[in-house]
Amino acid sequence: MMTPEEAEFSVFVEQRAHALLKTAYALTGDRHAAEDLVQSALAKAFARWRRIDEPEPYLRRMIYNEFASGWRSRRRQAEVTVAEPPERAGTRYVDADTALRLLLRDALQALPPRQRAVLILRYFEDLSVEETAAVLSCRQGTVASQASRGLAKLRELVPQLEWSEVGGRH
């Protein structure tokens, strides 16, 4: 028999866990590592469930923060490899855009966790430097530095991209 708190938490997990898993998967590039990361965040959230007003932003922030600050999956070996073969285009013919996406996917996995998190927050979530620093609990200068270093690495790994047109708000 579940308590009302457990029932509320279970409904939240049923409704929002998939979205959280997507965020974690974008960061880790590995399904198992993503599930570990989400479960770890959910467990910590449940421990203080009554004090959390907005669970989804709280959990999303926790996922980014944990990942960037050295979180390691119980199945770490899977985390450092590229995405699983069954989910990949493999050696069959792919068009130029698909090839670029595959290149970028691998290149992102080659970045240290914090650089990856910073780039996803800045260029995918479109957060400002200040907002990104708040999510990752680090200094704004660190965000600027990590973004710069991450982009420099991606330029090396994906030179085919139009890098001069990187844009967005400050």
């Binding site: 457990e6 938490f9 279970s10 997990v13 049923e14 866990a17 998939h18 898993l21 997507k22 998967y25 974008a26 590039g29 993503a34 599930e35 989400v38 479960q39 770890s40 959910l42 467990a43 910590k44 959230a45 449940f46 421990a47 469930w49 600050s69 995405a83 989910e87 855009d97 670029l100 996406r101 970028l104 996917r105 240290p112 914090r114 650089q115 996803i120 260029y123 995918f124 430097v129 200040e130 620093a133 200094r139 704004q140 200068g141 965000v143 600027a144 530095s145 990590q146 973004a147 710069s148 270093r149 982009l151 420099a152 991209l161 139009e162 047109e165 990187v166 844009g167 967005g168 400050h170």
Partner: protein, 341 residues
């Protein structure tokens, strides 16, 4: 294709192929969450025992000198009407919390917002929201507003109080640098640096004592990306932005007045703002350093000042505290120090 567009498409493609979480995720999370709660309860219970000891101890271990510390002449328990607190070498307490010294009258004025008075002169930086800051005189006159879009981190005053420096970044194209703000006019001059060559972790710039240059801690990546270690300091001309020399200092200077008058020594310290421990005195001619008790400022070649817990400490260059002066009413508020004039 542009990077941002490709990143969106790549992540959408990755996550689009992802199935939902496996069964039992909620139940497993609840079980783990309960375990975390139990651990926390035990930790809190243990902490209560420790707190009893810590509260009792200060009365037993505080040296007598601290209890008998002299009260600074002229300090006031009501900072808004206090007068200048004179320190060795004619130095003054420039602020106690939000009460800021008006050097023209010697009175302290309570200001609103997050304030940072210059170490010299009468200008005050006021941060009252995101996107911009104000520079005003202590009495609120001659205000100028500075658009802080693209600024990152703290603003640091020059020793003369005529300029501030802040880190800057830009997304399109990606760049990192510093900007010098004129304290009177609010004019901003941006200088971009070669981040590939001058790799910084926190990218925080501080002034040299004479205000001719700013220095940037260059990253030491040997401990990994997250370690944020410092390899050396790189100087840049504050007017032209041109890179200058590299200095053998492996930490961030505490401020412009933390450089000795001759520029040979600097008190530099831990990356955590406000940290009490981990400060060191560096000799930039040899790169050697020694522990130092606080982020101090140099009054003269043989005398330094620092603040701690509502007190002003007088120190010698070897780190010996020779006097402790209480600033009345300071409590744990931030105390600022500045040279005479």
């Amino acid at each position: 294709m542009r990077f941002e567009q490709l990143l969106h498409e790549t992540i959408d493609e990755m996550t689009g192929e992802l199935r939902g979480p496996g069964a039992g995720l909620a139940a497993r999370s609840i079980a783990k969450g309960r375990s975390i709660r139990r651990t926390r309860r035990l930790a809190v219970a243990g902490g209560a025992v420790m707190a009893t000891v810590v509260i009792a101890l200060p009365w037993l271990v505080l040296p007598r000198a601290d209890h008998a510390a002299p009260v600074l002449p002229g300090t006031s328990t009501t900072p808004t009407t206090g007068t200048t607190n004179e320190l060795p070498g004619g130095w003054v307490v420039t602020r106690v919390g939000s009460s800021v010294l008006d050097r023209a009258t010697g009175e302290y004025v309570t200001m609103s917002g997050q304030v940072s008075p210059a170490p010299a002169g009468n200008r005050v930086l006021v941060v009252d929201g995101p996107g911009s800051v104000r520079l005003v005189d202590v009495r609120g006159t001659h205000p100028v507003t500075v658009d802080t879009t693209g600024f990152v981190g703290d603003f640091n005053w020059s020793s003369a109080g005529d300029r501030l420096v802040g880190g800057i970044t830009q997304k399109d194209p990606d760049r990192v640098g510093f900007a010098v703000i004129d304290a009177e006019t609010g004019a901003v001059r941006r200088h971009w640096i070669d981040h590939g060559r001058y790799d910084c972790s926190q990218c925080t710039f501080t002034w040299t004592r004479d205000g001719g240059a700013v220095v940037l801690p260059i990253a030491d990546r040997s401990g990994g990306e997250a370690a944020e270690l410092v390899d050396s300091l790189q100087s840049f001309d504050a007017t032209t932005g041109e890179p200058g020399g590299s200095l053998m200092v492996t930490a961030m200077p505490a401020g412009p007045l933390s450089w000795s008058p001759g520029g040979r020594y600097v008190v530099a310290g831990p990356p955590t703002p406000g940290a009490a421990e981990g400060w060191r005195l560096y000799d930039i001619t040899t790169g050697q350093s020694a522990d130092f008790p606080a982020p101090a400022v140099w009054v003269s070649a043989d005398l330094l000042l620092a603040t701690r817990d509502g007190k002003v400490l007088t120190l010698t260059p070897d780190g010996t505290v020779t006097a402790t002066m209480q600033v009345s009413g300071a409590g744990r508020a931030t105390i600022g120090l500045g040279p005479p004039g």
